[in-house]
């Protein structure tokens, strides 16, 4: 019998002699990022302080929005080592005639634990993918949990790539990915894919340039630059301010766009920016990230959350 419900799973695990537990870590639905500066290489001779892109323009054709979600929690302890259960999901909603439709959706359920624990749980976690933590070190519940979380992040990234690839195999429409295109070298080469990053943990400039970069006015973009450290999947990137930030936060309304590292990207950066400016409406409230969260991406998250199961 497939164990679908986490509560039932927890009971099944407890029946095998493990200590049931319930601990949902803060921000279990998001990925952790490390704040850093990686200096980028400018590709356009434009002021970093901003270049107006022109009035918003509606996307002229069908466009897909790709995002993924993850949820995980500690389900039990085998001695002092945690048994983590996770659900990861990714979907593409394609917009046609102003309406969003589900184009692709994939889900996985994971149980992450030390290998010897997984062996004992084998028949209790049918329907879940068993992910083993690295062997060798002594049991450390905090470290084990951090490792488990990395496994979840990684699995989610792979699922998003798989979902995006499936969409691309079926459609040549524009595809906007929540986050970076660096997840896949294939994406980084796709001339009709865009990564839209809300996070600015990794910044491309420092000093005065960074100041100018972060103080972009609304409706303006930075010059196109090539982010550092993307040797496997090089992309071009630029920042775009969707909403005025004055009186709010420095990052308010600021997104970073990634596109294929091609001449065409340089040529159409303004055009793409105008299309993205039009995506400000509808506003993605009540999400607190509404100033940077495209409505289509939010719709994917809402869909995955609403259709997921514990």
């Amino acid at each position: 019998m497939t164990t679908r419900n986490w509560t039932r799973l927890r009971r099944a695990v407890a029946a095998r002699g493990f200590t049931p537990a319930t601990w949902i870590p803060a921000a279990s639905e998001g990925r952790a990022e490390e704040a850093t500066i990686r200096l980028a290489h400018l590709l356009e001779d434009l002021p970093i302080a901003g270049h107006p892109v022109g009035p918003p323009e509606a996307w002229p054709e069908a466009v897909g929005f790709l995002d993924g979600t993850q949820r995980y929690e500690v389900m039990a302890y085998a001695g002092a080592s945690p048994v983590v259960v996770a659900e990861i999901a990714a979907a593409v909603l394609e917009r046609r005639d102003r309406h969003l439709h589900v184009a692709q959706v994939l889900r996985r359920r994971l149980v992450i634990a030390r290998p010897e624990v997984l062996e004992q749980l084998e028949d209790a976690i049918v329907g879940h993918e068993a992910v083993a933590l690295p062997e060798g070190g002594p049991v450390h519940p905090v470290l084990d949990f951090q490792l488990a979380r990395r496994e979840v992040d990684s699995a989610r990234g792979r699922l998003e790539v798989e979902t995006g690839n499936r969409f691309r195999a079926a459609s040549d429409a524009w595809l906007i990915v929540d986050g970076s295109l660096a997840e896949s070298p294939q994406w980084a080469l796709d001339g009709r894919m865009l990564g839209v990053s809300k996070s600015h943990a990794t910044l491309p400039f420092s000093g005065t340039q960074l100041e100018e970069y972060l103080r972009l006015p609304a409706g303006s973009r930075s010059p196109v630059f090539q982010p550092a450290g993307r040797e496997v999947a090089p992309v071009y990137s630029w920042a775009l301010r969707l909403w005025p930030w004055e009186g709010k936060d420095l990052m308010h309304g600021l997104i970073r766009v990634e596109a294929a590292a091609t001449v065409e990207t340089l040529a159409q950066a303004d055009q793409v920016s105008r299309w993205l400016l039009a995506e400000r409406a509808p506003v993605s409230t009540p999400d607190p990230r509404w100033d940077r969260l495209l409505y289509g991406i939010r719709a994917v998250e809402e869909f995955l959350r609403a259709s997921g199961e514990r």
């Binding site: 509606a58 917009r95 102003r98 309406h99 969003l100 409406a281 506003v283 809402e302």
Partner: protein, 645 residues
């Protein structure tokens, strides 16, 4: 077999939970669901059929200000966002039926489908009376939604008794919905009333204009109406056996109705009553000031001892007196007064009744034939409904539209009372009679004096079903009708309603959406409440198979009033086509109109073989007036002088 496609899904939250009587479901934005639609919920071990009573739509927009922000404050841009917001169509449905019915539980989460024919039958519990050997279904219209068109039946046991009975219809005036619905329903009853329940007839009171004046004439029906008739298994035919009754106008020869076109004269007969017919209902015309205890006692004396039987009293006449008409009654009173004045000057009492009381009763009763002129005749020759010989599936329309309200009351009171008497004795001719009364708020108002008619309607609504006497009533404002009268109507129909009326407390159980639908209901659609239906449902019915009053007046315009001699001639010619009008005119020349009316009434009542001969005989011979006698001058006994002055 293809699985039916789900059109929605039940949702239940803490704020909007499912209950045993209500549930909520969402649908795609484009779906056939609307207010009044019947839906089915399928869940393991349980099927629920419900009717949509309310609908909601909202998007994921948290506050309107976010829409303003998204559109940069420009309403023109608000509709041009590249993505339409996610939007929900959420409906609330009231449970019609759960299967199994026990244990009664909250509606489960499950797929929602549009109801099919079988679901409609089951949900409205029509299977209780539409299956088995003795079905009692009366087609009332079709329920239409989502491409489905299911016939809706009313249970004859609950429409015409004995389980429940009576029908009341409410709707704004001017749309002809109320009259049309009753005409259609009567046609449906006449065609489908089950044989095992016996016979049925209808008596309709035409209270305004030409509304019910053409029930025997075919309507011009369109293809859609004919298709609806076919769907309901009915024939679109006018009533085959219709008879019209109308009092005379003040001239006593022209009928007081709009149905005077000569082409329609064959089944239009006068309604004329004499003393015997109206005395029992004198209370309708006389108020409490008119009839005190003493006067009432004397009227009772007249009813029991005098009228309609030989009355022997040597003080009045050597021969037994026979009082059959108002004229006889006047003669009776005259003899009393002569006796009191001439022979009994010492007393003012006759047979324990004071002279003043007798004078008062004489004045009041004598006034009836004046107030109800045209309906009540002095001469005692009545023309009435066929009491005891009412035929199965016959319609009798009594046209009181042109009468004074108080005279309408008299007509109504007497006819319903006679129906009741005959049904109690089981000698009316039929087992069930539908009495249709429009403008019920006039006859049984919530506020107003306690009248004879009001009491009678109340009695009819509370006890009529045991007799087979069924009230079909209509009014514009149900809230203004005596609550016990409309409350006793087992079946209630609602056409388009006035918003003021819908906002009255009687409609508090309806959802705002249902009220909104009622306020804009198109012609030909009704909301139906019936004992088998746990919730009101909306049905569509075809145009009635009979000519509408307005169309009838165009096709059969009312004849202009005829001169007295022409009117008399026409009435006799109708009885005998061989009579030439000039023969009649010669006969009645120089005769008083009173004599002619009396002779005409006698002919109508007798219906002789030789109409003209009987009329001539009833008129009697011409009596030449006596020449005035010569009066001789009487000379004074003692002339004083020759002075002529």
């Amino acid at each position: 077999m293809n699985q039916p496609v789900a059109i929605g899904r039940v949702v239940a939250t803490e704020m909007k939970p499912s209950t045993p009587h209500q549930f909520h479901f969402w649908t795609a934005r484009e779906s056939p669901v609307g207010i009044g639609a019947i839906v089915r919920v399928d869940a393991p071990g349980r099927t629920v059929i419900g009717i949509v009573t309310d609908g909601f739509a909202y998007s994921d927009l948290l506050t309107p200000i976010h829409d303003v922000i998204g559109a940069d404050g420009d309403p023109a841009l608000a509709g041009s966002a590249p993505t339409e917001r996610a939007e929900i169509r959420l409906y609330t449905a009231a449970v019609l039926r759960q299967i199994p019915e026990e244990p009664l539980q909250p509606v489960p989460l499950g797929a929602v489908h549009m109801a099919d024919d079988a679901d409609v039958v089951s949900g409205l519990r029509m299977d209780a009376f539409m299956s088995g050997e003795k079905t009692t279904g009366i087609p009332a219209g079709v329920y239409a939604a989502g491409g489905l068109e299911s016939p809706i039946y009313l249970d004859a046991d609950f429409l015409l008794g004995p389980e429940a009975a009576h029908l009341n219809i409410t709707g704004v005036s001017g749309l002809a919905t109320k009259t049309s619905a009753v005409e259609f329903l009567l046609s449906s009853i006449f065609q489908t009333f089950p044989a095992h329940k016996g016979s049925v007839a209808a008596i309709c009171f035409n209270v305004k204009g030409p509304d019910l004046c053409f029930l025997d004439q075919s309507a011009d029906l369109g293809d859609e109406d004919r298709r609806l008739y076919a769907r309901l298994g009915l024939h679109a035919e006018p009533f085959a056996d219709v008879r019209y009754y109308a009092p005379y106008k003040g001239d006593g020869v022209n009928l007081n109705t709009l149905r005077t076109n000569e082409a329609l004269a064959s089944n239009t007969v006068p309604l004329v009553w004499g003393l015997r017919e109206v005395l029992d209902y004198a209370e309708v015309l006389l108020n409490k000031d008119d009839v005190d205890a003493k006067a009432g006692g004397f009227i009772d004396f007249l009813k029991e001892r005098v009228i309609g039987r030989p009355f022997q009293d040597a003080t009045l006449s050597d021969e037994p007196l026979e009082v059959k008409s108002f004229a006889d009654l006047e003669d009776f009173f005259r003899r009393i007064f002569e006796f009191m004045e001439v022979q009994s000057k010492t007393s003012e009492v006759w047979r324990n009744h004071h002279l003043a009381t007798i004078r008062k009763v004489r004045n009041r009763l004598g006034n009836i034939s004046v107030r109800a002129k045209g309906l009540v005749t002095d001469d005692g020759q009545a023309s009435d409904l066929p009491w005891g010989k009412v035929a199965d599936r016959s319609v009798h329309v009594v046209d009181v539209a042109g009468l004074e309200p108080v005279v309408q009351d008299l007509v109504f009171a007497r006819i319903v009372s006679k129906l009741r008497e005959h049904l109690e004795r089981r000698d009316l001719g039929v087992d069930h009679v539908v009495v249709f009364v429009d403008e019920l708020n006039k006859y049984a108002p919530t506020d107003g004096p306690e009248t004879y008619v009001r009491r009678m309607l109340l009695d009819l609504s509370e006890r009529g079903r045991y007799l087979g006497l069924v009230l079909f009533s209509a009014q514009q404002f149900r809230s203004q009708v005596l609550r016990r009268v409309v409350g006793n109507a087992g079946t209630a129909l609602f056409g388009r309603m006035d918003m003021d009326e819908i906002s009255s407390p009687g409609y508090a159980t309806l959802s705002p959406a249902t009220k909104a639908k009622l306020a804009a209901l198109p012609k030909g659609e009704l909301m139906v409440r019936h004992p088998h239906f746990t919730q009101p449902i909306f049905v569509r019915f075809p145009k009635p198979p009979v000519l509408r009053g307005r169309d009838g007046m165009e096709r059969f315009p009312a004849a202009v009033d005829l001169a007295f001699d022409d009117a008399v001639a026409r009435q006799l010619v109708q009885l005998d086509r061989g009579i030439r009008p000039n023969q009649v005119k010669d006969l009645i020349a120089d005769r008083t109109e009173e004599d002619v009316r009396r002779a005409l009434a006698a002919v109508r009542q007798k219906r002789p073989e030789d109409v003209l001969a009987f009329f001539r005989k009833a008129l009697g011979g011409r009596v030449a007036p006596d020449a005035p006698r010569e009066r001789r001058a009487v000379p004074p006994l003692n002339p004083i002088s020759d002075e002529p002055y």
